[in-house]
């Protein structure tokens, strides 16, 4: 093992540990704002792994789209539906969680056994490396042209669909309706804060 391979292995271990810890935090933490920020950590470590895999263009796209767009969108969503509500926990919730964890561990064992047992045919061809962006562009405009155009149509459909779904449907015809349309349907912050202060033992 020469120096470059050692550096690759160490960075893979660091990135993998970061990714797994952040992903567990996303799933297990109680506060959803922490989960959203840890999701950004998952995306950034994934982008580092893409760089290890000679995919610089996809790594840049990952940071731009996932961290810059999707994560910010999720944070906005959290702010818009931010309401304190006590989830009614049954007494036997842990049975379902334990069963789910068991099934997921079994799935991981299955996938791991498959990955280790399969004799992969590692190609010895030289990697595209810095020319990967050129190769992706050639693919997008020759043999992947139809999926590329379909993806653009799908993005347009998703844009229009999201606007139609998220739009308010009431039409403001008089003054009172306009007033109610401009206010968010959530409790004022100080009421929620006072309630949380008055009964802190429930947390």
């Amino acid at each position: 093992m020469n120096l470059a391979e050692g550096v690759q292995l160490v960075s893979l271990i660091i990135l993998g540990a970061m990714m797994l810890a952040s992903a567990l935090g996303v799933v297990l933490l109680a506060n959803i704002v922490y989960s959203a920020f840890l999701l950004g950590g998952v995306f950034i470590s994934m982008s580092g792994m893409y760089i290890l895999l000679n995919a610089g263009f996809v790594a840049a796209a990952q940071i731009l789209i996932y961290v810059g767009a999707i994560n910010v969108l999720i944070l906005f969503g959290i702010m818009l539906v931010n309401k304190e509500e006590p989830y009614l926990e049954g007494s036997r919730v842990w049975i379902g969680r334990a069963a789910t964890a068991l099934v997921c561990l079994g799935l991981f064992a299955l996938l791991g056994a498959m990955v280790v047992a399969t004799p992969w045919v590692i190609s010895q061809a030289p990697a595209a490396g810095e020319l990967a962006t050129v190769e992706i562009g050639k693919h997008l405009f020759t043999d992947f042209l139809l999926p590329f155009e379909l993806a653009s149509v799908l993005l347009l459909m998703a844009l229009i669909g999201a606007i139609v779904l998220a739009r308010r449907e009431l039409l403001p015809d008089d003054e009172q309706n306009t007033q109610s349309a401009l206010t968010l349907p959530e409790r004022p912050r100080f009421v929620a804060a006072a309630k949380a202060l008055s009964e802190p033992a429930q947390r």
Binding site: L12, L73, G77, T100, C104, L140, P185
Partner: protein
């Protein structure tokens, strides 16, 4: 040997995502778990592209497609969550029983 490391990491991320998808009560956390699943698939595709097909990198093209589809999915999913929140005044997954009978 490095291909197996990436595949195992992707499998672990996929299983964590499935666990979150099943056990979360908050609808936005379900969306985040779906993003984890998509990222795991993307890591698999790029690992195969680098180790099995390094000259003609079709896996990276698929990765770019998956990223764009994930952006569309996230936008529509959050719009649906907002619409449900406006109608039902909650984001608890247990109380979304519109399609039950």
């Amino acid at each position: 040997m490095q291909l197996e490391y990436f595949l195992l990491l992707a499998a672990a991320l996929f299983c964590i995502g499935i666990y979150g998808l099943v056990t979360s009560r908050n609808a936005i956390r379900v969306l985040m778990s779906i993003e984890l699943l998509l990222n795991a698939v993307n890591l698999n595709l790029l690992a195969f592209s680098n180790y099995l097909d390094p000259a003609e990198i079709k896996g990276q093209v698929f990765g770019v497609f998956i990223i764009s589809i994930a952006a569309a999915e996230s936008a529509v999913g959050l719009a649906i969550v907002l619409a449900i929140y406006r109608n039902r005044n909650t984001v608890d997954m247990e109380q979304f029983n519109l399609l039950k009978w």
